[in-house]
Amino acid sequence: MPPHLLSRPLPDAIKTELERLFLDKVIANLGLCVSVYDIRSIEGGSIHPGEGCSTYKVSFRLLMFKPFNGEVLVGRIIGYDDKGLQVSLDFFSDISIPGHLMQFGTVRGPDGRWMLKTEDGDELYLDLDDEIRFLVSSTKYPPIPIDQKEDDPPFAPMQIVGSIKGDGLGLLAWWAADEEEGRRRQSKSNSIVLL
């Protein structure tokens, strides 16, 4: 607890310090810290020799963003390359949907955009800023690289791999029209019914 915060009431000061340490930061295998949920106990208050700050032992809970495998999320497409799509939730942007986890029949079109060809012959493009619903396939926490080359992409401590292979996944627009038709169709499980 640095000295300049000591004039504030203790729980507030400790909360500020915890927020400074954890907020918007990734903890390996635990996810992205969104908020300090609560402080359960504070003990201590001793001052170590040679330091001006007091040390406390705090027990607290953090609210983490850590989607489980199989959780459904909705985000926006912010980019695409030959490996797949990049999706962003506004507060977290390191989500990728690789080509092999897209609906069967999705290929890269001539202009670089990914495109799904349906049974009816329609070409459904996955464009920038389209809202997309995906399943979390896995979350990786790569170790911090020792040295990076000039043109390497910025290091992402937490990377989510998503999948849009399955009923109800993919662009929201693909499935929105299905609601009115849902009752008329007799769809068997695991068949994709589009428009």
Binding site: N29, V34, L63, G70, L89, G166, S189
Partner: protein, 140 residues
């Protein structure tokens, strides 16, 4: 720092939204600078765009109570509460192995999974409030 418990509990989008609201988050980016940080504001704005934005504790409890007969896993319930499926395709996306699990009832007899899915969607529609319509009109 020692991690006492890596996973103390799962929260639905609604609970996170409620928590941020109680901390003072508002849609106005200037207004919430004092109480919550910019990153928390971003999370708050993202959650406002999901169906969680007009859920209440009572509606979530009601949904959990009424869906007991379907024997959903916690993960399935979380997906459904967070995204409020409105069609069969949505339900298949959110419930793992939906077709296989809904095709047999408690006694192990075969039942019509489509009917069961529709019944489930009715419960979702009644228990959880529909998300507000988006600002831009949907073009066909």
């Amino acid at each position: 720092m020692k991690i006492e418990k890596a996973n103390a509990g799962v929260l639905t989008n609604f609970e996170v939204l409620d928590f941020l609201r109680s901390r003072g988050a508002k849609t106005d980016p200037m207004g919430c600078l004092g109480a919550v940080t910019a990153s928390e504001c971003k999370v708050y704005e993202y959650l406002l765009k999901t169906p969680a934005c007009n859920q209440t504790r009572e509606s979530v409890f009601e949904f959990v109570k009424r869906s007991e007969g379907f024997r959903l896993a916690d993960a399935d319930k979380l997906n459904v509460i967070n995204w409020r499926p409105s069609s069969a395709a949505d339900a298949y996306a959110m419930i793992e192995e939906c077709g296989r699990r809904f095709s047999r009832d408690e006694r192990g007899d075969v039942r019509d999974e489509d009917e069961w899915v529709q019944e489930f969607l009715e419960i979702v529609k009644e228990a959880l409030p529909p998300p507000p319509p988006k600002a831009e009109a949907v073009q066909e």
